[in-house]
Symmetry: C2
Subunit: 419 residues, 2 copies
């Protein structure tokens, strides 16, 4: 078999463990030196391919690659950039083929969420249509946990663990202050349409009365009167009330409570629903309420990552390479759950055509009857995903993360490509 080069890129909102997938992919590629020559990473996702801005990942040391496993963010840069269809924008695809040919690339690995798997899918379709020999494999990643087929998405377990730990910690604080000061606390959680991250906050509670006392899930339309009554009741019973609210909470009209324009993909950009709910409580109940919006902190918190999540992120990176060298294309490694307790899982193949652009919402039977919590079924699903600690090394009191050299591959094409 002739050795061919590989392209790897990271795309979409990053997570605490997307670099663990990069680590799995790169270490496994090095083990397959019979089939894979160099690994070129796209600087900032697919944009790196379009603009021929490639990073030579082959020159990074073994120890730098190993350190990716404990480093948050996207080591090669990410992007929010979606390919249009071949019909609409043929030029983009011609350019990709041109760049791949110029650099002898026949393996394509794209690490991201639903939009990114759509990109991987389109590249695989394009390669087939143009009869360009390329193994296209997606690598799942999203803190939102909204990818279909895979039982969970790498990135989710760590944000789930961070949020549940934060809810538990904040609850100790609020309970301490509630006699004369703050009685209610609102934590705003990321997650556009699916309530997985908000639901994960409920793992902080082990028995009746434990925080969080109320969840505001994006799957349940906000009912102000019912909500305020429940807050009042919780304060009366427990002395305090901790609430986790999804940034994607929708009002009775089905519109986001807090829309702030839109991103490059036309998704509504959210933020600010936490302070809004807190203001409502202050105003309508006259109860002192504080709020937190950890925003990117939650998805970057590698210091509090889930060991299970790190292992799964690594495993999908590894499996992607194994799929590709086995001649598979148009697929994504997915996590299959074999049992809840003890938690066991393995890796299966998911067709990119069935992954792209799909959003997996929480199943209705994961949401409690009153809409303000989760069921035992949800708890059984969520619980194993946050298990295990995977602390990064610390130096001078802080997590010691790696920055790669990220040296550019010399360009081979004369013309630029505007994106």
């Amino acid at each position: 078999m002739t050795r061919k080069n590989a392209f790897y890129a990271q795309s979409g909102g990053v997570t605490a463990v997307i670099n663990a997938s990069a680590c799995g992919m790169l270490q496994t590629a090095r083990q397959h030196s019979q089939e894979i020559g160099k690994v070129y990473a796209g600087r900032n996702g697919i944009i790196g391919a379009l603009t021929e801005d490639l990073i030579d990942a082959s020159i990074e040391t073994e120890s730098a690659i190993a350190a990716l496993k404990h480093t948050p963010g996207a080591a090669f840069g990410s992007c929010r950039y979606k390919l249009t269809s071949i019909r609409e924008h043929r030029q983009q695809y011609d350019r990709l083929i041109e760049v791949f040919q110029a650099h002898d690339i026949s393996f394509f690995f794209y690490n991201g969420g639903g939009d990114s798997q759509d990109t991987a899918h389109k590249v695989s379709e394009m390669a087939a249509e143009l009869a360009y020999p390329m193994a296209c494999v997606g690598i799942p990643k999203t803190m939102d946990n909204d990818l279909p087929i895979t039982d969970c998405s790498p990135g989710f377990g760590s944000v789930a663990k961070y949020l549940a730990a934060s809810v538990r910690e904040v609850a100790f604080d609020v309970a301490s202050m509630s006699r004369t000061s703050t009685k209610v606390f609102v934590l705003e959680v990321m997650g556009r349409h699916a309530g997985w991250t908000t639901a994960a906050c409920a793992l902080a509670a082990e028995k009746e009365g434990d925080a969080p006392h109320l969840l505001l899930l994006p799957e349940v339309l906000f009912d102000e009167a019912r909500f305020l009554a429940r807050v009042k009741e919780a304060v009366a019973r427990h002395g305090h009330c901790v609430i986790a609210v999804s940034e994607g909470l929708k009002g009775p009209d089905g519109k986001f409570l807090s829309a702030q324009g839109s991103d490059a993909f036309g998704h509504a950009l959210l933020g600010g629903v936490g302070p809004r709910i807190a203001a409502l409580i202050n105003d309508k109940l006259g109860t002192k309420c504080r709020w937190a919006v950890p925003d990117y902190m939650q998805r970057a918190a590698r210091h509090a990552a889930s060991k299970t999540d790190v292992e799964q992120a690594y495993a999908v990176g590894r499996a992607a390479v194994e799929f590709a060298v086995a001649g598979k294309s148009g697929v994504m490694p997915a996590i299959r759950r074999l049992s809840d307790a003890p938690y066991r899982w393995d890796i299966i193949e998911a067709p990119l055509s069935e992954v792209a652009n799909q959003e997996k919402l929480m199943p209705p039977d994961f949401i409690s009857a009153d809409g303000f919590g989760i069921t035992e079924a949800a708890r059984r699903y969520l619980a194993p995903l946050i298990v295990g600690e995977s602390f990064p090394p610390f130096r001078n009191g802080l997590p010691d993360y790696v920055k790669l050299r990220n040296e550019s591959v010399p360009r081979k094409l004369a013309k630029d490509f505007a994106i």
Copy 2:
């Protein structure tokens, strides 16, 4: 020597390590069973004494007391409640003496910040004035690091470590996204007047270009034009810009940029300056900016505590008991720095009269000439305070914190006391 009972209470905004001080106090009191009988904790600070709502800490198990060392919040409840002067409100002091006498209390330990040390000071003055035999010892605590005399305040090192780690992590995220999405990130930090916590964020940076790129300290009046020019410059040079802003940032008029009413002490309640600065950047520079407000999360984050801080919090709890049994009163154990590197410290006595109601701002030579950063002197001061990890035990993926039994001591007085 006759055995006398002790009163211990926690006051003011809580921290990740105030219970480590409780642990030091309680374990040391148990070692001094010749002098100290039972330890009664005030439920919710001094309010517990005024309302005769005492908790029998003596019945807690050794292991529960030991677990306080890794549990955030105030195990006995805190309060924001300030005693007025004896002249103004004699009745309060008569009531305190009445409760202390009824429960044979001759040791008074009050664990808190500047306002709480004022309470401890007033109680010690009152005891002297009424010739009631009582050793009154303060125990320092404040995430704000604004207590005088003590080189640092227990609670600060842990919030400093959490914030610096979060800044570092968020910077990896923003750097990843900056090509097509978020280029600027604003982190709002607690701390009313003193910039210690905001300054601590700078520990995330090890070399030129590292985040945070700009600090907005409460000691430096906000100059919008200069600030925006620096943000623009940072984005141009580094591709992204991470900013830490104090909730107590003041405008050119000397007024808080974001005032939201006032607390029980008449302090302005802050919050929301982060989103305000982010909106400014979005609007004036047209650069995509996101923001985070971790609020209580930062001071409750025991999972990310500084080992140095935990040890100091424990040490001041222990020293308070040793001072008291040695017959000292009207004092507070303070941390004295013996050297920066290697970091060495010991415990000295600070008179409560000199601690009460004082706020230690950052010295001018800790703030860089441009006002947007810290100096090497500040870095030398701050660096050792975040060193060392002190992870709590984890169970089912989450920190395993203790809740005490908190059983009430039977009341001995007939009448209630309205507060």
